[in-house]
């Protein structure tokens, strides 16, 4: 006779949910993890990512339903989110786990066929924390926690926590530690059903199933300067913009100038165009763009594709500073810049691109021929901060853009540790058309509302 009732699947899901906190992104594998979104309270602020790419979902029978603030993603975007380090936690249902935290994902004793991981590798490798959610024993009563995996491994040293229908185990350097037991169970009962020795945590307790009440932390900052308070000297900062005032975070640019951080590396398409009067600007006014940071001598280096003025007789501030030897420049073709940003955000270490092969751009870089065509090896770009311009955001940070002002905004947003968006308006989750959301809130740390009537000229 078993010592006590095993937990229901719903109870296991509720115990898993206790590991999540507002603002976190949790990726869920097929099987038992699919129950987790359904036990999270409404407006909990946890983003659930499905294997099929739905972000902010809850299962509704055979299909998934988006919660307010959720957005559908394509598979390429979903795996980029996983690999790019944006997922705080993954929950998987492995067939087998061992004491080192290795696991085998989809293969079961019943499947004698191909050993295939599905999304198991992505769930194992990208997220900061991986939780195994499984039944403690197989249908024949044998342990699912085993000394050695008999199926091929999909995650190596990947697991942090194992939550089963009788216990919670922590993966520690020396093996597995018993943290909690299900109500009515004793440590010895759990050990008897486990294929590896368990250390018993001195504070071992009983599993509980209610989520702590918590609130989603607001991302909205009332002052632009507050959103940049922790930007330090020497930081790398991405700043959006293409050419001209469209799609540029003017308020944030001014705030960065006021902030005064120095020795910055700036990643942008232009490095500011000519800041002169009567150059498409209102009479007597100068455009606010990247040039203001050159004028204030805050930039040490620019990584840009178009660091010069379109008019040779009217050079940009950056050109002049470069000729005086005051700034460094890394020149990147526009398409390569976009791709390096995308790689940085998507966790792609490096890629071979045909752009620039055989030109000055390829000098000093590895080149390689695939199928008779020459390619240049380029690496992903990441930054400490990213300043972008959106049209509207919801309070969870989901952003929609307007027309061509999208330009570099959407590809930069995922590539920085802290991304700050300047928008015209902030709305409640669910108020944006989910099909129109381009940048999921996962990538946005801070939101600043551009004051009504703010002029991009000064």
């Amino acid at each position: 006779m078993p010592p006590a009732q095993r937990l229901s699947d719903d109870q296991i899901a509720r115990r898993v949910a206790r590991e999540l906190s507002p603002g976190q992104v949790v990726a869920l594998g097929f099987g038992l993890p699919g129950l987790v979104p359904g036990v999270l309270p409404e407006r909990t602020g946890v983003f659930c990512l499905s294997e099929s790419g739905a972000l902010g979902y809850v299962n509704a029978g055979q299909t998934v339903k988006l919660r307010p603030g959720g957005t559908p993603l394509g598979l390429a975007e979903a795996v980029a989110m996983l690999r790019g380090g944006r997922v705080d936690c993954a929950v998987v249902q492995p067939a087998q786990v061992n004491a080192a935290g290795d696991f085998s994902h989809w293969t079961t004793a019943a499947t004698t066929g191909v050993f295939a991981p599905g999304a198991g590798l992505d769930l194992a490798a990208g997220p900061k924390r991986v939780i195994a959610m499984l039944r403690h024993t197989a249908e024949d009563g044998s342990p699912n926690i085993v000394p050695e995996l008999t199926f091929p491994v999909d995650g190596i040293n990947a697991l942090h926590l194992i939550i089963t229908d009788i216990a919670v185990l922590s993966v520690i350097p020396r093996g597995l530690e018993l943290m909690e037991v299900a109500p009515g169970w004793r440590a010895d009962d759990v050990s008897a059903l486990t294929g590896v020795p368990l250390r018993r945590n001195p504070d071992m307790g009983e599993m509980t199933f209610d989520m702590e009440p918590s609130r989603f932390p607001s991302k909205v900052f009332s002052e632009a300067r507050d959103a940049l308070h922790d930007l330090s000297d020497g930081a790398t900062v991405m700043i959006d913009g293409f050419a001209g005032p469209g799609g540029m975070p003017h308020c944030l640019l001014v705030a960065l100038r006021d902030h005064g951080a120095r020795d910055l590396t700036m990643i942008s398409n232009t490095a500011g165009i000519a800041r002169i009067t009567n150059f498409g600007t209102p009479p007597g006014k100068l455009a606010i763009d990247h040039s203001i940071l050159i004028d204030s001598k805050q930039i040490k280096k620019a990584i840009a594709s178009y660091p010069v003025s379109p008019s040779a007789s009217r050079p940009s501030a950056f050109e002049l500073a470069y000729r005086r030897g005051e700034v460094e420049l890394e020149l990147v073709p526009q398409g390569t810049l976009a791709e390096r940003l995308r790689a940085g955000g998507a966790g792609v270490a490096a890629f071979y691109t045909p752009t620039g092969a055989g030109t000055l751009i390829a000098q000093g870089k590895e080149t390689r021929v695939f199928n008779g065509k020459e390619y240049v090896l380029e690496k992903g770009l990441r930054a400490d901060f990213c300043l972008i311009r959106g049209h509207k955001a919801d309070t969870m940070g989901n952003v929609i853009y307007k027309g061509t002002s999208r330009n570099f905004n959407s590809v930069m947003a995922p590539a920085a540790r802290v991304t700050v968006v300047e928008v015209d308006e902030v709305v409640e989750p669910g108020m944006l058309d989910s099909e129109q959301i381009v940048t999921p809130g996962v990538y946005i740390s801070r939101i600043v509302v551009r004051p009504p009537g703010f002029s991009p000229y000064e």
């Binding site: 394509g74 598979l75 989809w106 991981p117 270490a349």
Partner: protein
């Protein structure tokens, strides 16, 4: 015949498919499956197709519509490239044909497959990915460390045809999707010589909100309008 990119039937849109063609098939867990195209393909006089697709559904969750499993059952397919052949316990025709030696299966982890398709669509020569580093999936491949992290060189995938499912197209082939029916559609649409979209309806250019267009029409060569259960809700 076709009016611009719009074809009167799935059969006509697939008329030039050939023996041995590599075909990307959209859809995930029953959502966004190009059912009418798959059904028409099963009646086409072709063999030895390679299909790149998501797994077969478990028992009890099979779609009532026409899916990859039914295409495989029609005998047109000799190879499947997939992250997972079937969900455990499905005992699908894919697994039965594999055991019988009629179907070759190549396993590519989901994140690697998505990125290889994206690389194919974006014209890259190869990508270094952390996915699969240290596992059986790096065997036989070049690996390298970048900033202390091991990465595996993965090569792009391009196909002869992509069959995708979207909600609405305009006459230029711009596509909007609905909900989780989006899944493989956008990345597969980029990665084929001929992309055929099955949509619920076709509108005039300008009839779609441009901010909602996910797949630009330049990636879509043929469109058929056919309703069904899984184009989106």
């Amino acid at each position: 015949m076709a009016k611009g990119k719009v074809y009167p039937s799935a059969e006509q849109a697939l008329a030039d498919i050939f023996d041995g063609a590599v075909v990307l098939v959209g859809g995930f867990a029953g959502q966004g499956v190009p059912e009418a195209l798959l059904e028409a393909l099963s009646r086409q006089a072709v063999k030895d197709l390679t299909c790149i697709c998501s797994p077969a559904m478990p028992r009890g969750r099979q779609s009532s519509g026409f899916d990859v499993a039914r295409l495989v059952a029609s005998g047109r397919v000799s190879k499947v490239i997939t992250p997972l052949l079937e969900y455990p316990g499905a005992n699908s025709v894919l697994e039965q044909q594999r055991r019988a030696g009629q179907l070759t299966v190549e396993v590519v982890p989901q994140g690697v497959l998505a990125e290889r398709l994206r690389a194919g669509g974006a014209g890259l020569g190869g990508v270094f990915l952390p996915n699969g580093a240290g596992t059986r999936f790096e065997e036989g491949k070049e690996t390298r460390e970048f900033d202390g992290q091991r990465a595996v060189l993965e090569l792009p995938i391009r196909a002869d045809f992509a069959l995708v499912r979207a909600q609405t197209a305009d006459l230029f082939g711009n596509l909007i999707y609905q909900g989780d029916a989006r899944n493989w559609g956008p990345v597969m649409a980029m990665a084929a010589a001929i992309t055929i979209a099955q949509v619920d309806r076709v509108v005039e250019p300008g009839g779609l909100d441009p901010e909602r267009v996910i797949t630009p029409g330049i990636f879509v060569h043929r469109i058929i309008a056919a309703g069904g259960a899984t184009g989106g809700r």
